[in-house]
Symmetry: D3
Subunit: 250 residues, 6 copies
């Protein structure tokens, strides 16, 4: 059990491209590509303002069975699988945990989270809870979770069961090595094999969006400015030219 | 479908009177008037510290049916009814949305919300979610919602269905033109026809409340000061006289 | 009904000892002592950063029955039992309320909470909601609740029923006089009779934890430093000696 | 703990009168008397076709606390409070149990239920489950429960806590000695003090209902026959006279 | 309010064709046609063995508001909209009710259901409950409901609001005049405009299914017989020929 | 994917021994052995009166991801993993399915179930639904499920993902080859390695239970007869002797 599989990380430029999109654009683009349910539901942004993307290391909990997870695990800490997922952490990685939505199990505490941060972990997405929040809060690790609890991970109903296998998290199947992108909207799973196409599809020209936003903020007509109508295109061109004239880089 | 009905707005002094009461007083007063369930349950104050009141524009979502809401809606944006409710927005209006409590549908995103703000909208109450929260947060629009999601409005299970008709939002029937009052306690629906009576009923003399609060804060006896007992009335009169003496406006 | 029982408060040193542990250590230690479900689930830290411990005064709500809780209670405020639990408050006490998880009943409002603070109450844990949050927020009373609502306590489905009897709160049986410890992780019930043993058990030597945390934060190996391995013990001793050398109190 | 209080049983004619009304008429009549929530929600008719009424013996479960309910209870069976409620059973009694809606605790098994039947118990209403259903089914005891489970009563999260005190069952407060009436529509709690008035109120003349039912079944107009319109009254009188003529008892 | 709209009924041959398919085939066929969520979830077959299809008459409930549904409705029964949907019933019709999943409101009782049967109604689908089940059961009307209750329709939280408008029932949008097909699998909504295509699509050759079922029942290989493999086709042809030989109608 | 692992079946005498205990005794005995949560919660006895035990074949569903489960699966039926679990069925086997509690996915239909019966399958436990119930009902296969639906297995949110691996079903971890015992109380998972000890532990002398049941049924004292008291032992011995005297086999 203690020799858990490694993951294959996607190329950095794909992770960077997905991070630049943000969760909302990633989810919508995947939906238009035929993958309608890529957004994790349940875990929410717990550290407001964070925005990360990275490859998924996965940890799976299962309902506790005393014959499968007994006293031995407490004796020999190396048998505790929730430790093992952390051994795999490289800078930029995101740990994704299926804790079955349980509100009475704190998957990690302060010491484990300190180690995770020390290894350069980018963030965690947990379909469940953390523990030791008064201390974890100080670490500043980006987190998407359901909540916090004083209980430890195996105190009530769960046991850690597998590392870097497929899991379900918040209603989404996550494969190890998938790219997870998360911000205040929530977390989205981008299959590694679709990342390139997803980035390409989202790069459609939205250059007029800054213009439209400015017009709408001034009380402009939604029908005229969003999406940009033909009637407003010359107005937009003028705006763009003017802005270019003010561009100090010219 | 695209010619949606207008609402009849209640007079400004009624909206102002309800706003001055706040959500808690409005809900309690309506309860004492025989309308016990005027408080919307589910959507919560998302922008803490906001306090608004205004006439309700309504938007109803229904379970998606591909035969009723198809590709055409994506082609012709003017067929998208969630846009139409925004066309009605006048300064001070509140958009109330029945999104069926769905946590996987983001009713509006940044551009729509920018337009809403540009039109002077006072706030939104949504039995469901928004999308693009990292950007919407910057707009400072007062919001009472269930949460946020990366998904767009018709990505999973819903379709916009009607504008400015009766809706149910958080367990309360809302008629277009009703006055919605919302603050950190939540949102309350005041039927336009009851607003005048509701304001009058709440205007019962609570002048001793400032005195009582001060006494309770100092450790005064609850039985003596809340509600104000006969035994404490002369003490209160003295306090009032003294405060009047210190009044710089005299 | 209006002559409600007093509670027996545990000795101050026990309350202090439990407070020093915090909720997470209390919950885990009780679990290792055989009491696996001491953490209240549902009510969450509403006033982030608060950390309190104190003896429990209890208030129980029951489903409203008009024949048991009628107009009389509104006439004669002294018959309203939610007032009576506050009459018992001494400095440091914690009021724990079984409001049945109801999201449509605001157990206390601003005036009652002002009185509670005036009496020196340490905090409240409510399996339900408060009302008047825009005003209560200013009082700074530490709170663990499910939410807030504009409704008052008996507006919809509940009636106050008993004071200082046994209650269930968030899935935990609470006996009056138990020690409640609460922080951002949530609230935990420590039976008064187990407090001494719980404190003793938690006082096991964790002196190396500061060292381990520092090492983990620097990217140290989890296997080496948590728990402290034999291989790292001499390193730890050196660290301790060095820190002692820098101790300005020497 | 083992000396549990007796209940005061209402007079037989009241129990008989309520039984004759049935659950639906009892609930509606109480609602019209101002007691709108007398129907227990959650427990359903498990033994279809049963119809009973009788005084309520009550049993309350609470979340298990190992310090309050320990090994001793298993050693000394007389400490197990769920036995004690059965000691009170007299012919016609109904045992009502607050098992907190728990689906993993079987309140009674075959032997206890055999004893209950042997004592003449009229039925049970349990906000929770039974155990040993393959055997209990053969006893034919009328039951309103949430379900069945292989688990025994204290196997997971609950402990029996009190006998013949006030309880909440399926969202209704039940006082010991209240009259419970139950049939395939569910169970309704009639406060003993309201039984007489409830019976009287329901005895309003519905003699035309048999006539109306017959007319509606033949396709008669709802507006004409339900409630009986003035236009149909002479038709009804004729029907009544004719039926009287056929009455073999005349 | 009391002059409610009529529906347009689909041609009989379409209703007959959909009825012959049954709920499972209708749901799957619509899914393959792009309408993936046509099955109503929540209401279940209450009268086991029934199988019906017919045009939908619709009734919508909304959260009760005392200012919109007051004493007048009790005085003047003709203002009670749940009666009006029944006035429209023609033989073969199915009444579909959005009762908001409420478990404390009994939409119809015995007298209304007797009238419905007298008019030739084919069945009802209710996202909520009925009342008077001990008597309704005897009528034998096919029913898909969530449960039964002793409460009447407006006793707690609902009021009837509209007749023969669009409703949501069990997560499906139902338009008046849609064809509802229901059996022990549940109820499915077939949009009237898709019925013809749905029937045609389902009529694809399944003649080998009887053969395959017989083979599988005897322990035949799933790979060989379902779907019918090329390898088994000659075996099937022989089986068909033999059966034809035994056909007494030849 | 299509070459799924076989299971190791426990010896027949263990399966027989567990079957003889029934679900309630198995669950209680395992609890007393330290395995407190062996009873599956959610799926209920759908075919009342069935009682089975057998080794578990397992099938796991996961949230649907269009990139992992695409059109190919519909084209090549051999890629559909829910078929593969059936290929493993030997007489007496029980198929256990984690369908994630989904109420909109029918795991198997009539043809698959016919094949299962043809192979001698003993029963199925599904944390989810079946489809084609009007036809499956006629097969008489013992079933423990959450419900039925007209939808097929991948119609909405799920895809079959793995066969004969560990699964969670109704809150219990099930390992392939575990013994599942199920009757009207529900289904219980007996780990194969604990079966022998479980049977031995349950074989404690309960010979007096028939006597006690008879006494309790006649109105005997619970304290005297259950458990059998010392005071009643001689009475029991007499009963036993008398019964032996009547034994026609002597």
């Amino acid at each position: 059990m203690s020799d858990t599989p490694k993951i294959v990380r996607p190329p950095h430029h794909l992770v960077d491209g997905i991070r630049a999109m943000g969760a909302a654009t990633a989810s919508a683009t995947l939906a238009h590509m035929g993958l309608r349910g890529a957004a994790i539901t349940g875990p929410v942004a717990w550290t407001k303002g964070s925005a990360v993307a990275g490859p998924a290391l996965t940890l799976q909990f299962m309902p506790k069975r005393e014959d499968l997870y007994g006293e031995g695990e407490y004796m020999d800490v190396e048998k505790q699988l929730h430790r093992h997922v952390l051994y795999h952490v490289e800078p930029g990685d995101i740990v994704v945990v299926d804790a079955r939505g349980d509100m009475r199990s704190g998957v990690f505490g302060e010491m484990m989270m300190t180690y995770f941060k020390g290894q350069g972990g980018a963030g965690m997405v947990i379909d469940g809870c953390l523990r030791d929040w008064p201390n974890i809060a100080k670490l500043g690790v980006p987190l998407w979770i359901r909540g916090v609890t004083p209980n430890f991970h195996t105190q009530i109903d769960l046991m850690p069961f597998a590392v870097n296998g497929p899991i379900a998290c918040g209603g989404v199947t996550v494969m190890p090595g998938d790219i997870v992108v998360a911000d205040d909207d929530g977390a989205v799973v981008v299959p590694a094999a679709l990342a390139e196409a997803c980035i390409a599809k989202a790069k459609k020209d939205h250059e007029w969006e800054d213009f439209s936003r400015e017009m709408l903020a001034r009380g402009g007509d939604l029908r005229r400015y969003y999406p940009l109508s033909d009637a407003a295109r010359s107005e937009y061109e003028a705006w763009k030219a003017k802005r270019a004239g003010h561009d100090p880089s010219r």
